[in-house]
Each structure stands twice: as structure tokens, then as C-alpha cells.
């Protein structure tokens, strides 16, 4: 019975609900812009990782490295593009 119970998915579901509630706090409580954005960003990234690993089964096959290295590549590209854009249009204009 134990192996039939999807403990990982249930935990993941509960965790994603909790993360959503924490994010909702930003709307319903009175906090500074910086604090609110920090909470939103942190919960959003944990939420995305959770969905990817628990519910979209990333890394469960033997070529899981391909998915993770692609994600890493994507993150690096996005960070560099955003920093470059800020550099061009704001910081060094």
C-alpha cells in the first residue's frame, strides 16, 4: 500500500498551496514594495521548480541531465539578456 500512495505528489500539492498563500499575503497585508517583491520572486521561483520536478517529472528519466542543463542554459541566457538590456537602455545610456 505504501508504494501506491503518491506521497511526493501530495506533499508537492500541499507545498504549492502553502506557497500560493504566502504570495497572497503580499496583497492582503500592508508591507513595503521591496519586501513584497522579494516574497513574490522567491515564492514564484520555488513554485516553478516544484511544478517542474514534482508534477512535470523533470529528471526522472535517464537523460534527466539534458533537461537540467537546458534549464541552466536558459537561466544563464535570460539573466545575461536582461542585464545586457538594462545596461544598454538604462545604466549606460
Amino acid at each position: 500500500m505504501k508504494e501506491l500512495f503518491p506521497a511526493k505528489q501530495v506533499m508537492g500539492f500541499v507545498a504549492s498551496l502553502v506557497l500560493t498563500l504566502i504570495a497572497l499575503l503580499v496583497v492582503f497585508t500592508d508591507m513595503s514594495y521591496t519586501a513584497g517583491m522579494t516574497i513574490l520572486l522567491v515564492t514564484a521561483f520555488i513554485q516553478a521548480t516544484l511544478q517542474l520536478v514534482v508534477f512535470m517529472h523533470a529528471g526522472e528519466t535517464e537523460d534527466g541531465w539534458a533537461i537540467y542543463s537546458n534549464i541552466l542554459f536558459g537561466i544563464v541566457i535570460v539573466v545575461l539578456s536582461v542585464l545586457g538590456t538594462l545596461l544598454i537602455l538604462l545604466w549606460d545610456m
Binding site: D63, F73, I77, L80, T85, L87, I88, L89, D92, M93
Partner: protein, 648 residues
């Protein structure tokens, strides 16, 4: 009547009316021909509904050649207008429209389908698979590309062509300065075909990662498959930027948002920034598969294995990364500081290093080889020095301080044509000649092919090298005429003559297809070039299932090993083969996308909403459809294999 006025051409000329008549006549001719020869059923069953990667590849190939001629006619008109000072063949507005459509057609609707054609034709064969990972998605990709291409091409007879350059910079492309619907066509047609490209990217990456034959590790893939993999990876990361930028541009034009406007908090420079975040990787999306083709052709005709397989792979991986870090070099003069320009100068020069590695690897592959100068090899050999010239002028342009002199001159035009034509176009023509026998069952005539090659090469040098000089002398790009006092006249005349010689080359290629179809031998076997990689291991014509038994692979040149070293490619008994079934939905969806796109261009909201609902309906239909494909029995396989010359 007021309703129909929006479809009128804002700036007509006799040439455009003649094109309208020509388009109408060709359409009537095709419909009449199909009806007379009773080919509607054949067209629908064998082509419009097919999900076979080989047939989709051939459709991409035909579309790319058609678009090559469309873009080529644009080019000839531009060179003719510039051939003498103060010419009056075209006025400024027509010239603007023509250089815009020339750029868009050549990059988005010629080069992209050309590389997709080779990816579709070759990747499943090279990795020993029966089709791509998502065959129906593949068909949808093609029909979206096709819908986008057709939408873009009707612009010059209905409503007017875009005229803001292929880069379509805001605020020029905004409603204030581009009032007619041309730029809507640009935004929406590229959007539709861009979605198709993105889907191909996902499809090909999955195919290459998941469907390789037994024994084929990543480092044993043929080099074209590697280049296709890297190119598709770049597509997956770069095209979303274009999708979002085009969407923002569309809402700016249709719904009065202010992303790229110059007031109300908009930022027009953001468009240039987004465009080139996609645009520079796009350059490498085009050139890497071209490199892949050269890496297949040069070893075959040098009878040597590819020199430095691993450095080739790593240089492509490095290029894929660096290609995302250089985009600012397209607008060094936009006004950002010296710090930014210096950073992007350095990254741009750095990208020349892995490219140089590849050049040397091809040279070392040929070194001490037994070279056969066939047509594909001639293109490859001409590519190396010509492309290197383009690369060197690229490094000149990369120096941001010097770029203030080159920016927006014919020097730049010469540079990028110098990389794209010997790089991409020569590769495509070499690949076309090289793979023609595999997919059509007869060889192209070598003699006519060589005439075409020399016309193209000589024409290319004459057409583009003078532009380096006039560019340095200050001839600006995108200027529809110049005065006699500038002294640009004679060199521009040389350019025009070069362009005309290139046109002769392209006509010779068409003539070659026709001539060889009539005269070439059909008895060519499955391996006429004595080639090395897996795509030549199956029969010609290729059976729909590609390989009766999946090949076992031990190196990147498994077929060569099988021929020379007694490697056993095909082992074991025949088994039932599972194939995907055809579907008309991708074609219908493509047509609905066309209607939706057209409605958006002219702000016809009711048909637009209906068409969008139709698209969602097709998607829902697919979700609820139960289709497990079909099976080919062992008897049928044996029968086909026997007919094609026995199982190897």
C-alpha cells in the same frame, strides 16, 4: 464601397497591376490544371495531409525555392534601380517596400524553410529513426510557415507591402510614420511562421535527444545532426523573444498600446533591442545547419573522415552560447555608452574564434585527401575563402569605434551578404545537389551544375565586392538613388552586372532540374556519391518507414564502417513497424491561421474572432482524438524490401 477601400494599394504602379494579373492567372492555371488532370485527391492524400518527414521536407524545399525567386526578383529590381545615378525605375516608396520584402522573404521565408527542409529530410535518416518525435506537430509547423509566407506575399497586391525595413525599427514602424497596413502584415505574417519555427525547434530537439538508433551516443551523431540540434536549441531560446516583441508591436499598431512609441512612457529603442536579441542568434540558426552540410560534403569528396569531430562540436556549443551575447553590435550607434559598446565589441570578436576553428577543421579534412571536384564540393571549396572574407569584414564591423564609419553603409550590406550567400545559400545549393539523388532518384547534371556554380560565384563577387568600396566612400544603404557627383555610378553598375550573372546562375539551376529530370539515369543505386553517414544506408527511393530494421551504430560514420570495415548495420529479424497516420487538421489549421492573420491585418474583428475560435476548436479536437497510428506487417515490409533490391 468604403469597406473595400482599405484593401486598395496605397501607392500603385503598372508593375503591381501586372503582378495582380499574373497572380490571378497562375492561381486559375493551378486550379484548372489540378482539376483537368484529376489530381485533387492525390494532392490531398499524398501532400496536404501527410505527416511524413520526407514529404514535409520536400514541401519546405519547394517553398524555399519559390521564395528564393521572389526575393531574387526584389534584389534584381533594387540593383537595376541603383545601376545608374538618378534612375527612375522605382520611386522611393517602391524601393522602401522592395528592400523590406527582400530582407524578410530571404531570411524568414527562404533561408528558414531551406534549413528546415534539410533538417526534416536528413535528421531522422541520420539518427536511424522512422520519423520525427511529433509528426503531426511537424506538419503543423510547415503549414504555419506556409500560411505566414502566403500572407506576407499577398501584401503587395492587397493593402500594400511593409516599408520600414526588414528590421522594422520603431518609431518608423509605428502608426504615426507607417500608416498603411504594410507593417501589420510584417508583424502578423512573421508571427505565424515564427510560431511554426518554434514548434519545429522543440520537435527536432526532442527527436535528436530521444530517438537515436541503438549505439548512437551524442558524440557519435553525424555532424549535420549536431548542427541541427544546436540550431534548434537556439531556436527554442531565441524565438520566444521575437514572438513577444512582435506581439507588443502588433498591439502598439492595432490597439494603441505604448510599448515602442516615443511618448506616453514608450521606449522605441526597446524594439531594436528585442529584435536583435532574437536577430543575432537567428544568424547562427541559419549558418550552423549550413556548416553541418559542409561537414557532410567535404569528408565525402575528400575521402577522409571529418578532421576534429570534438572541436567541431564544442565550437558549435560555444557559438550557441556566444550568439546570445553579441546583439548590441547591430546598433553600436544608438547612443549607449562606450562601456557597453566595448563589452559587445569583445564578445563579437570572440565569436570569430570558434568559427575560425571550424574553418581550419574543414581545411585539415581536405589536406592530403583525394578530392573530387563535384558540384557540391565546388560550392564547399568556394565557401571557405569567400566566407572568410565575410568573417574578416565582420571583425572590422565589430570594432565599435570604427563602426560609426561603417554603420548603415553599403559596407555593411556587402558584409552580411558576404556571409549569408557563400555561407547559407551556397550550402543550401550544395546540399540540394548532394542530396537530390537520395530524395528524387536521379542525379543533377554535373556540367550544367558547374556552369551554375561559376555564374553564382563570379556573379556574387562582382555584385558584392564593389559595395565594400562604395560603402567606405559613404554610400548609404536603403537610399533609393544617388547623384552623379558622388561617383558611385560605375561600381554600382558592376554590382548590377554581378546580380544579373547570379540571376543567370539561378535560372541554370532550374534548367538543370528540368534537364536532369528528362535525361538522367534512374539506375543510380542508393549511394551514388560513395558517402559516409547513415542517411545513405537505406534504399532509394526511401521507403516510408526509412529503415526496415533499425541500424546499430558504432561511430559517427556508421555507413562507411559498414562498407569498409565490415560493420554489421542491420541485425535480427523484421518486426512490425508502427507509423503515424496522416491528418488534415494541420493543413486546415494553417488555413485558419491565414484567415485570422488576414483579419488582424485589416482589423476585421468578427472574422478574426471566428478564426481564433476555429484554431482553439482544432486544438481541442486533437486533445480528444484517439489515433494510435497504424502498423506495417512483416509481410508487407519483406515485399517492399524485395521490390527495392533486397534486404542488406
Amino acid at each position: 464601397m468604403e469597406f473595400f477601400e482599405r484593401f486598395a494599394i496605397p501607392h500603385p504602379s503598372p508593375a503591381i497591376y501586372a503582378s495582380m494579373v499574373a497572380i490571378a492567372l497562375v492561381t486559375i492555371g493551378i486550379i484548372a490544371g489540378l482539376t483537368y488532370f484529376k489530381k485533387w485527391g492525390y494532392l490531398w492524400r499524398e501532400w496536404l495531409t501527410t505527416v511524413d518527414h520526407k514529404k514535409i521536407g520536400i514541401m519546405y524545399l519547394i517553398s524555399a525555392l519559390l521564395m528564393l525567386f521572389r526575393g531574387g526578383v526584389d534584389a534584381i529590381m533594387m540593383r537595376a534601380q541603383l545601376s545608374v545615378p538618378d534612375a527612375e525605375l522605382l520611386d522611393a516608396q517602391h524601393y522602401n517596400e522592395i528592400f523590406t520584402t527582400h530582407g524578410v522573404v530571404m531570411i524568414i521565408f527562404m533561408a528558414m524553410p531551406f534549413i528546415f527542409a534539410f533538417m526534416n529530410l536528413l535528421v531522422p535518416l541520420q539518427i536511424g529513426a522512422r520519423d520525427v518525435a511529433f509528426p503531426r506537430l511537424n506538419a503543423l509547423s510547415f503549414w504555419l510557415f506556409f500560411a505566414g509566407a502566403m500572407l506576407f506575399n499577398i501584401s503587395f497586391v492587397i493593402g500594400g507591402s511593409p516599408d520600414a525595413g526588414w528590421t522594422s525599427y520603431f518609431p518608423l514602424a509605428g502608426n504615426d510614420f507607417s500608416q498603411h497596413v504594410g507593417t501589420n502584415y510584417y508583424m502578423i505574417a512573421i508571427q505565424i511562421s515564427g510560431i511554426g519555427s518554434l514548434m519545429t525547434g522543440i520537435n527536432m530537439c526532442t527527436t535528436i535527444l530521444k530517438m537515436r538508433a541503438p549505439g548512437m551516443t551524442l558524440m557519435k551523431m553525424p555532424m549535420f545532426t549536431w548542427s541541427a540540434f544546436i540550431a534548434n536549441l537556439i531556436i527554442v531560446f531565441a524565438f520566444p523573444v521575437l514572438t513577444v516583441a512582435l506581439l507588443m508591436g502588433t498591439t502598439d499598431r492595432l490597439f494603441a498600446t505604448n510599448f515602442f512609441t516615443s511618448d506616453n512612457g514608450g521606449m522605441d529603442m526597446l524594439w531594436a533591442n528585442f529584435f536583435w536579441i532574437w536577430g543575432h542568434p537567428e544568424v547562427y540558426i541559419l549558418i550552423l545547419p549550413a556548416f553541418g552540410l559542409y561537414s557532410e560534403i567535404i569528408p565525402t569528396f575528400s575521402r577522409r573522415n571529418l578532421y576534429g569531430y570534438k572541436p567541431m562540436v564544442w565550437s558549435m556549443v560555444l557559438i550557441s552560447f556566444l550568439s546570445f551575447l553579441v546583439w548590441t553590435h547591430h546598433f553600436f550607434t544608438m547612443g549607449q555608452g562606450a562601456l557597453t559598446n566595448s563589452i559587445f565589441s569583445i564578445t563579437t570578436m570572440a565569436i570569430a574564434v570558434p568559427t575560425g576553428v571550424k574553418i581550419f577543421n574543414w581545411l585539415f579534412t581536405m589536406y592530403k585527401g583525394k578530392i573530387r571536384f563535384t558540384v557540391p564540393m565546388l560550392y564547399s571549396v568556394a565557401f571557405i575563402p569567400l566566407f572568410t572574407v565575410g568573417g574578416v569584414t565582420g571583425v572590422m564591423l565589430a570594432m565599435s569605434a570604427a563602426d560609426y564609419q561603417y554603420h548603415n553603409t553599403m559596407f555593411l550590406v556587402a558584409h552580411f551578404h558576404n556571409t549569408i550567400i557563400p555561407g547559407v545559400v551556397f550550402a543550401m545549393l550544395a546540399g540540394l545537389t548532394y542530396y537530390w539523388p537520395k530524395f528524387f532518384g536521379f542525379m543533377l547534371n554535373e556540367k550544367i551544375g558547374k556552369w551554375a556554380f561559376w555564374s553564382l560565384t563570379i556573379g556574387f563577387v562582382l555584385a558584392f565586392f564593389p559595395m565594400y568600396i562604395t560603402g567606405l566612400d559613404g554610400q548609404a544603404r536603403r537610399m533609393y538613388t544617388y547623384s552623379e557627383a558622388t561617383g558611385f555610378g560605375p561600381l554600382n553598375m558592376v554590382s548590377f552586372i554581378g546580380a544579373a550573372i547570379m540571376a543567370i546562375g539561378f535560372v541554370l539551376i532550374l534548367w538543370n532540374v528540368f534537364y536532369s529530370f528528362k535525361n538522367s539515369s534512374r539506375e543510380i543505386g542508393s549511394d551514388p556519391w560513395d558517402a559516409r553517414s547513415l542517411e545513405w544506408a537505406t534504399h532509394t527511393p526511401i521507403p516510408e518507414y526509412n529503415f526496415a530494421r533499425l541500424p546499430h551504430v558504432n561511430s559517427s560514420e556508421a555507413f562507411w564502417d559498414a562498407k569498409m570495415n565490415g560493420h554489421q548495420l542491420f541485425r535480427g529479424e523484421y518486426e512490425e513497424i508502427h507509423m503515424p497516420s496522416s491528418s488534415g487538421v494541420p493543413f486546415i489549421m494553417g488555413m485558419i491561421f491565414f484567415v485570422a492573420g488576414f483579419s488582424f491585418v485589416f482589423s476585421l474583428w468578427i472574422p478574426a474572432v471566428i478564426a481564433l475560435l476555429g484554431i482553439f476548436f482544432c486544438m481541442a479536437l486533437r486533445s480528444f482524438e484517439k489515433d494510435d497510428g497504424y502498423h506495417i506487417s512483416v509481410e508487407e515490409i519483406k515485399e517492399t524490401e524485395r521490390k527495392l533490391g533486397g534486404a542488406k
